[in-house]
Amino acid sequence: MTSFLKNVRESLTPTLKQTAFLERGVLTPEEFVKAGDELIFKCPTWSWEAASDESKSRSHLPPNKQYLITRNVPCKERCSEMEKGASSMGMMKADADGWMVEDDGQGEDEDFDFVEGETDEGSKPAATTHPAPTTTVVDDDDDDEYADIADFEDDNLAADTAALTVSDNILAVRTYDMMISYDKYYQTPRVWLSGYSESRSPLTGEEMFEDCMSDYVKRTVTIEKFPYTSAVVISIHPCQHGNVMKNIVSNLTQGEGGGEIGIESYMFVFLKFVASMIPTINYDFTNAVDTGGASGK
């Protein structure tokens, strides 16, 4: 119902015709296409996509450029666990000399033993500050009688000695498909995420929330139906995107040595801003933003 009302609201909103990028941080549909074209040109992992059927297509955008997508973006660790690690490391305490140091949560006699639980991860220094990446297969719902499907296995298959088995040294990670659509109501790009588990099964909304900063979960980041397909995904609400983009662009262009920033750079700035909400989804291989000034990066 909410999605339906949002669609109605969007369809009733007039299309932005005049550029207001510098004044309000928003885009016209034409500017969205131009910024998307530049993103694809510089980052070929992104591509334009059409709606799954014509009824879902938005008339203010070209039929073959309805939204941007990049697929199979790796997400090695859970953001929620990273936050736990950061918060425990962020607490301060006074040391014997009166200096403030980070509280490792352990007694002073255990300065070098600040990993909870047992570890054999000597070769993985990252594990000393953050929990190890979750690589186990996520079990399905407990009530699901098909979650354990060992009785479906078939040992009578024809033998195949030439097929390599999966090597243990390949890290299985979650992956995400990331979509960027144009929100006609807020006149900004809008990010949508659809995740897959380590075993390549679709993630539920709750599981995908684990990869977002907790401050935003169920507030700015919500479960929505992606308007161009039938998929249920998570989305970052765009209500503040215009203001934030305006401020970032203003800081980039008005600082010391600042220059100008064009519509072509919008998507690169936008993706860097979005990364603050989903820091462990490793999509940002985009270039630095050049404002033409001395400190324009």
Partner: protein
């Protein structure tokens, strides 16, 4: 040296399953005839993706046009069979099932429990376990040597190969074929064409070499090489040495409306390739009848590396109560 091949892995989106379940409920009902599907794979990724438009339900859509939709990928053509009961799924003779599907790139055997929103599925990429020798046995192919293709002109001319493959894609409306053959034109230019276009007289041309797209993320041999070797046995190329190119191109979507596609030179340099030489001296020409007696292989192993299916529960995506709880 015995060759080993990297199996393909499947990733199926929730859109695909939702579309299939809607079709089962509203149209197919107890009809369990296979439906056509397309799997998409990016060269070198090792993962075949099945998206919402992978399931072809509209008879009016030409298959070729559907392929063009995602021409930055290589498309695998196949089918999905949705059986009606759990028992049907279990009792299905998987070896016979692969034999019935030996001419497809991919197939998925599925059972959907519409009540609990659970789906049990088992993807397969059917292929012959080896080459059929004169003795009628199925053995590993006789691998002779391997060499790199480079851009510098000292080895193989990879830039020439890139141009020929781009040209082939343009001629087939953007579709990126996973198998092809390459030959020198009378003017000395490298050309490529689909394997289905090869003529018997082409096989006597010394410049002919065969190619497959590299689907493997590692340096190991891709599954497409295995299916190509099976296919080559249907041609009359016994007692020869054949070159097979394992080609890893950088594919970009073609806009067929423009009719023209100009390759970005910077991107062109990211292609890689290598050439494997095989001896076919003890191969025999095989036909579908010959393959009748050969057990096909290709079932994907499950998450525990066991010969079994995988399951997915779409309750969180389909059940209205779950959706409400999640979004509250």
């Amino acid at each position: 040296m015995t060759l080993a091949f990297t199996p393909l892995k499947s990733q199926i989106t929730s859109d695909f399953w939702l579309k299939l379940m809607r079709h089962k409920l509203e149209v197919a009902k107890l009809d369990s005839r296979p439906l056509p599907i397309l799997g998409y794979i990016r060269p070198g990724s090792g993962v075949v993706e099945y998206l919402e438009d992978s399931l072809i339900l509209d008879d009016t859509v030409e298959e070729a046009d559907a392929v063009v939709m995602r021409n930055e990928c290589v498309a695998f053509k196949g089918n999905i069979k949705l059986v009606n009961t759990k028992e049907d799924f279990k009792s299905c003779n998987k070896n016979e099932y692969l034999k019935d599907n030996r001419l497809t790139d991919c197939t998925i055997l599925t059972f959907a429990d519409l009540k609990s929103h659970a789906i049990v599925y088992w993807p397969a990429y059917p292929t012959c376990p080896g080459v059929i020798t004169e003795g009628g046995e199925c053995q590993p192919p006789s691998f002779l040597e391997e060499k790199e293709m480079t851009y510098d002109g000292e080895g193989e001319e990879l830039s020439e190969f890139d141009s020929a493959y781009d040209d082939l894609r343009r001629r087939v409306k953007g579709y990126a074929p996973h198998h092809f053959y390459a030959f020198k034109s009378p003017s000395g230019e490298l050309r490529m064409d689909l394997l289905s276009s090869i003529m018997p007289e082409d096989l006597s041309d010394q410049s002919v070499r065969f190619g497959c797209i590299n689907t493997s993320p590692q340096r190991a041999n891709p599954w497409t090489l295995r299916t190509l070797l099976t296919y080559l046995q249907s041609l009359d190329i016994a007692s020869k040495t054949i070159d097979v190119v394992i080609y890893s191109p950088t594919l970009r979507r073609l806009e067929i409306k423009d009719g023209l596609y100009v390759r970005d030179e910077e991107l062109g340099k990211t292609s890689t390739s290598r050439v494997l030489k095989f001896s076919t001296c003890d191969w025999i020409k095989v036909s579908p009848e010959t393959l009748e007696g050969v057990g096909m292989v290709g079932w994907e192993l499950n998450n525990k590396n066991k010969p079994g299916p995988r399951s997915v529960n779409l309750k969180a995506n389909m059940d209205q109560e779950s959706l409400a709880e999640q979004s509250a």
